[in-house]
Amino acid sequence: TTRSWDYLDHSYHTPNILLDKSNKGDGVIIGVIDTGIWPESMAFNDEGIGPVPSRWKGGCESGEQFNATAHCNRKVIGARWFVDGLLAEYGQPLNISANKEYLSPRDAHGHGTHTSSTAAGSYVRNISYKGLGLGTVRGGAPSARLAIYKVCWFVLGGQCTSADILKAFDEAIHDGVDVLSLSIGSGIPLFSDVDERDGIATGSFHAVAKGITVVCAAANDGPSSQTVQNTAPWILTVGASTMDRAFPTPVTLGNNKTILGEAMYAGKEIGFTGLIYPESKGLDPTSAGVCQELSLNRSLVAGKVVLCFTSVARRTAISNATSVVRAAGGVGLIVAKNPSDDLAPCSNDFPCVEVDYEVGTQILFYIRSTRSPVVKLSPSKTQVGKLVSAKVAHFSSRGPSSIAPAILKPDIAAPGVNILAATSPLAPLADGGFVMFSGTSMATPHVSGIVALLKALHPDWSPATIKSALVTTALRNDDYGFPIFAEGSSRKLADPFDFGGGIVNPNGAADPGLVYDMGVADYVHYLCAMGYTNTSISQLTGQSMACPSIQPSILDVNLPSITIPSLRNSTTLTRTVTNVGPVNSTYIAVIEPPVGTIMSVRPNVLAFDAQTKTITFTVTVFSTHQINAGYHFGSLTWTNGVHTVRSPISVRIQFVESYADGN
């Protein structure tokens, strides 16, 4: 967070509407359902924070290495832990032999401390990761309070059960949180919105019905389409973007050519030393140079830097290669791979530099053309600003939703790559209690913090109003005016399935002009439109519900986006906007129709006054081609000259229905 808030124009360096007007989120309570908290972290000091809000009904629970009296304060006002669902499955005691874990709110893993400090951590100045990314660490709502619900445990890689998650929801609703932040997902295929196995969908329905905004991670299964999770329309689903910061690492070849790779290498320079590519003889000479399959001869590798290639996006290939090169006495590693935004330091400050295939091939050609190739590896530097363009992260899960493609997911994106925040000092890569993590887990609390500020500024706004304000004001271009790209293979302009409305714009969301509001009745409309039975819907809502005899259209769910997954000839849908700006305002529609469609809006001028606060309008979309196509994207923007209320539009023309052409 030493850069992310600056990137979002949400910094104390510059005049900041939302941060100032909301008093930095003072009085708002963010519940974080995660791996707990490391309470001694400087990020949770309560200096300058007022008394605990009187409406708070929660509390702190003591446990192993966690003393409620000593470890909770005016910043961390709640800390509880729920493990019985996991223990009942795996038996007691908890099998924590592989990792340290505490039967208490104390966070051994570090993930919960990271997300909590990103959402509402206090200011901690002069923090860096081994000199990289120096700046001030803080949460989005630095004066908001934190209520910690530990449900995820450092066993089997980090697990949380739906029974424990549901209990956390149940208690958080009782305790009086305003926002719930969940950096948790399940897996594909998804459970339905009315299936309690997705404890998040069920728990969040009840939370949202009580006015609590629930912010969830979109998951890390990108860049493939239809991988987004936490897709219920009442959830605010967050994808991950990069920001305008990079860690270029000079790689100087013996021919004096310097190439910039990427790494988090904070060690000493590796002066010119031998460079090898483990090329074998025979019919498949490149097989020996595959990073995850390296098998090296110590006599050839000792004291040298190794180049390898991999097509594996995850870091396992780099980890494996690092271990093998180190074991063989190598002093450095250059990995040629597709960009994956999964940068991390290698253990023990071992230099492992990532380059793309093009650069990797240049290095390989240099090795092949030289009798004694040499290389110099310099420490990584921190680069910020306009030279580094933001993009949707490779790993960020993409829409459309596999449950309901007409409901745009993810809703929004926020920085989630190389986020420096507090962690458990037990986390393997921690540096002085801080670490850089990447994931939609890290993007989620950025949005949770902003939601807390919006809640402080507009206490009467519903979760749907907050979501609408965020989606319709999100940014599609970066600060420097360039469109935001989405990392994948290959890189392309980001579309709504990559980042929903765009990258979150805190100050814009504070004053959105118009909003698309929803309540429980609208969510029931959605469930009816999905074809869920009255019984199923009653199961979810807990009340007897009856859908209208004519099934409502899912396209009419009052979302701040329009997604038509199957347009044949034409379709008309309805939306209702509420004026939350100046009472007397007139908005006109600006339409950017998706390719292959014609769109009309009626009325195309909306005039609000003291009597008219909400207006319903219709949107008609015609297809101009008789073809089964992929999605095309456009927008509908209402503007009064001051406010720009932009809804992303996604349309797929389908003349043959149920055609398995996923995106």
Partner: protein, 85 residues
């Protein structure tokens, strides 16, 4: 049939304002299936009593089946795993 696993018994909206009464009703319901309040207490994992009504309990398949048939039970679902992102 002696092997137990955690099931979530979802009962929908709360029937009582008092959370203690909600929890008592959960124990009563489980006790009717497992034979006694003492056994029910041992098998109960969580009582969901604030935001909604339901409970999680360690159940054998036959106990789960009997609970699923109880008129007050809206849905009975096995526990499942979520992961950090």
């Amino acid at each position: 049939d002696s092997k137990t696993s955690v099931h979530i018994v979802y009962l929908g909206e709360r029937q009582h304002e008092d959370p203690q009464l909600v929890t008592d009703s959960h124990h009563d319901m489980l006790a009717r299936v497992v034979g006694s309040k003492k056994v029910a207490s041992k098998l109960m994992v969580y009582s969901y009593k604030h935001g909604f009504s339901g409970f999680a309990a360690k159940l054998t398949e036959s106990q789960a089946q009997r609970l699923a048939e109880h008129p007050g039970v809206i849905r009975l679902i096995p526990n499942s795993i979520h992961k950090l992102q």
